[in-house]
């Protein structure tokens, strides 16, 4: 369908905001990928599953609370806190079981271990819970002052964008100024050197997984509230998209992950709006290929000079 010759500002704005929402979600999950990759150079395929488990935990906690008569924001807060804690615990455990024994292994071995973990976690939730899609209650509050603008941007969208912004800001602060953040950066630069100057590398890696998984759980709660349903297989495709976003922005870089998420979200949104959603993903991947050809280290990634 042709989009017509006139330029419709409202339409453009709506697509831009849709892309922003989508991009924010990708960004939240991409942060976990980028942090883990930055430190141990592993594509953590199980990260998408951690996000799925976060969403499931939130759903279970929220259901139990609502059945016991609790309502309102307190459900949201309690469910999110429990989800974040559990996702962090799962991230921590997954690292201990599937990646830690593989520190000295050939480079691709942890990747296979991660794929195995991803298959395991999906089927674990499938067996323990259900294969069906479960309705996810919209836990996010409706902000009255946004109602007049809801045809362009609803309160859910606003909350998603704001939460991502806040989480990124907090993470940047954490990485830049805390002791643990410094240790993380040191480990990412040179693991052996960091070890020599007294950084407990194993602890740093564990913490990276915990922080990344916690962010994924926040993403999980937000997405589930936004699309209103979850099942055991939601993690995989979102995980791949988020990883694409992380690479797009320059893997290992935190502002890169956010920027990559947003660029990916906008590409998909505008491709759908102005061309066709049939090829939404094709556009996303073509953009990725193009950017990497002209900037092989991603948008914000530093191209490492190869030393001999």
């Amino acid at each position: 369908m042709s989009s017509g010759p006139r330029f419709d500002m409202d339409y453009f704005l709506e697509l831009a905001i849709g892309g922003l929402t989508r991009g924010s979600i990708y960004a939240l999950i991409a942060l976990g990928y980028t942090m883990v990759y930055g430190i141990i150079e592993l594509i953590n395929f199980a990260h998408g599953e951690i996000y799925m488990i976060g969403a499931f935990t939130a759903l279970i906690v929220a259901s139990v609370l609502t059945m016991n008569g609790m309502t309102g924001v307190s459900v949201l807060i309690l469910a999110s806190v429990v989800a974040v804690l559990y996702a962090a615990a799962y991230g921590f455990t997954v690292e201990k079981i599937a990646y830690k024994p593989l520190r000295q292994a050939p480079r691709l071995s942890p990747l296979i271990s991660a794929i195995g973990m991803s298959i395991f976690l999906q089927n674990y939730v499938l067996i323990a819970q259900t294969s069906d899609f479960l309705p996810f209650p919209n836990l996010l509050p409706v902000l009255p002052f946004m109602e007049p603008y809801s045809h362009i941007m609803g309160s859910t969208e606003l909350i998603i964008v704001l939460t991502t912004a806040l989480a990124t800001a907090a993470l940047t602060f954490f990485i830049k100024f805390t002791k643990l953040g410094k240790a993380m950066r040191a480990t990412a630069q040179d693991r052996h050197m960091a070890m020599l100057v007294g950084v407990n590398v194993n602890r740093v890696i564990s913490n990276t997984f915990i922080v990344g998984s916690a962010l994924a759980a926040i993403g999980g709660v937000l997405i589930a509230s936004h699309i209103g349903r979850i099942n055991f297989s939601i993690g995989f495709i979102t995980g791949i998209k988020a990883f694409t976003a992380a690479v797009l922005g320059g893997i290992g870089s935190i502002p890169g992950a956010v920027l990559g998420g947003l660029v990916l979200g906008w590409t998909e949104s505008f491709a759908t709006g102005y061309v066709s959603s049939d090829y939404e993903d094709v556009f996303a991947f073509c953009l990725l290929v193009l950017i990497l050809i002209f900037r092989p280290a991603g948008i914000l990634g530093r191209s490492s000079v190869q030393k001999v």
């Binding site: 369908m1 989009s3 849709g18 989508r22 899609f133 309705p135 936004h226 099942n231 505008f270 939404e280």
Partner: protein
């Protein structure tokens, strides 16, 4: 040949030997064996597992009453993940275990891949959910039957309803790019264009599993569509409807059997209100359907999933045919399926020569006050 390749060969054969240890027959010979094949793991498991539960419930009830032809019925449940190549493995496995008939497969693609194998082994196959028109209309699969309407039948009904009853002129046709959804959407588009009473203002595939559908919703709005016909399953449908309603779009939403599912109402909640979907007639009042759903709730503590009633009907149809035919012989079974009516949750049905169910009347439903109500 040097050392290296010798070792290679050796390892190769060793592995072949070790992995090929055959599994002996697990069941006694006198039971009737019913294969149940479909997606039981992976992202499409939610469409395959309800049929397993349906078959289990029916078989449990029948076995309690003494079985079929005086023999107990046993289920052999095999997973094909909705992948054609795995479906052929599943099919050969079931054939080599000497099943008497098969319920499945779930996806049309996997069904097509497997049917040749069953045909060669002279086995009747009844699918609760494979809707591709070719399966019955091409005449290539004489052993195939189904308890669901084909894509074109549903699409025709949706289009007639939209143009005739709702009197819309501009229709947006969406699909989920899948086997089922896209097939249906293509037929819908064809029928709308043929009717010349309405135009297709938008024809697009959405991405299943995406985190947001706002862009495509904006596009529907911009195209000024008066109705949306959606081909696909309920998870995506609920997201699209919810986003449409949140944006204040009150246009009609018409969909298919994959959406005429109570889970849709549970997931979409208040946004489900007013949505139309086609599905088998009068299941909401059919006592067999009500009791089947009750049995499921009692056994599994949850509402049944997609194609559950179709699964019940398929199992009942095949077991009834065995009983009526007095044997599990291929020709006799086919004969019985085509001549003997059977009471199922979908109504009193038998099958035509091509394998489509006769007696499964189709009608349009609408969500009113949180339940699907038949539109008269």
């Amino acid at each position: 040949m040097d050392h290296h390749s010798r070792r290679t060969f050796l390892a190769f054969f060793c592995a072949a030997f070790l992995t090929a240890l055959p599994f002996g027959p697990l069941f006694a010979a006198d039971a009737i064996k019913l294969g149940v094949a479909g997606a039981h793991s992976g992202d499409l498991a939610s469409y395959g597992l309800p049929t397993v539960k349906a078959a289990e419930l029916v078989v449990k009830e029948i076995n309690a009453k003494g079985g079929v032809l005086g023999r107990q019925v046993e289920l052999l449940v095999e997973d094909d993940v909705c992948k054609p190549e795995l479906a052929t493995n599943t099919a050969t496995k079931l054939v080599s275990q000497n099943v008497n008939a098969v319920i499945g497969h779930i996806c049309s693609g996997a069904t097509k891949a497997a049917l040749g194998i069953y045909k060669d082994a002279k086995l009747v196959v009844i699918s609760p959910s494979a809707t591709n028109p070719d399966l019955t209309q091409s005449g290539q699969y004489p052993n195939f039957y189904r308890t669901i309407a084909s894509d074109d039948a549903q699409a025709r009904m949706e289009v007639e309803f939209a143009i005739g009853k709702l009197k819309v002129k501009k229709i947006a046709v969406l699909h989920d790019k899948g086997d089922y959804g896209k097939g249906l959407a293509e037929y819908a588009k064809k029928f709308i264009e043929e009717s010349k009473k309405a135009t297709v203002v938008l024809f697009e595939g959405i991405t299943p599993g995406a985190v947001d559908y706002s862009a495509v919703v904006q596009k529907i709005k911009r195209a000024d569509a008066e109705a949306v016909i959606y081909g696909g399953y309920h998870p995506e449908a609920s997201s699209i409807v919810a986003q449409m309603r949140k944006k204040g779009m009150k246009i009609f939403f018409i969909s298919d059997d994959g959406v005429k599912d109570d889970t849709f109402i549970k997931v979409a909640q208040k946004y489900a209100e007013g949505v139309y979907a086609t599905g088998p007639r009068d299941t909401t009042k059919n006592p067999l359907a009500i009791s089947a759903i009750e049995a499921h709730k009692k056994a599994y503590g949850a509402d049944p999933g997609a194609f559950f009633l179709n699964g019940i009907a398929a199992t009942q149809a095949i077991l009834n045919a065995m009983q009526k035919a007095g044997s599990t012989d291929y020709a006799a079974l086919g004969q019985a399926l085509q001549t003997q009516f059977v009471e199922t949750p979908l109504g009193k049905i038998k099958f035509d020569k091509r394998g489509d169910a006769i007696g499964v009347g189709f009608s349009v439903y609408q969500v009113r006050k949180g339940v699907y109500v038949e539109v008269k």
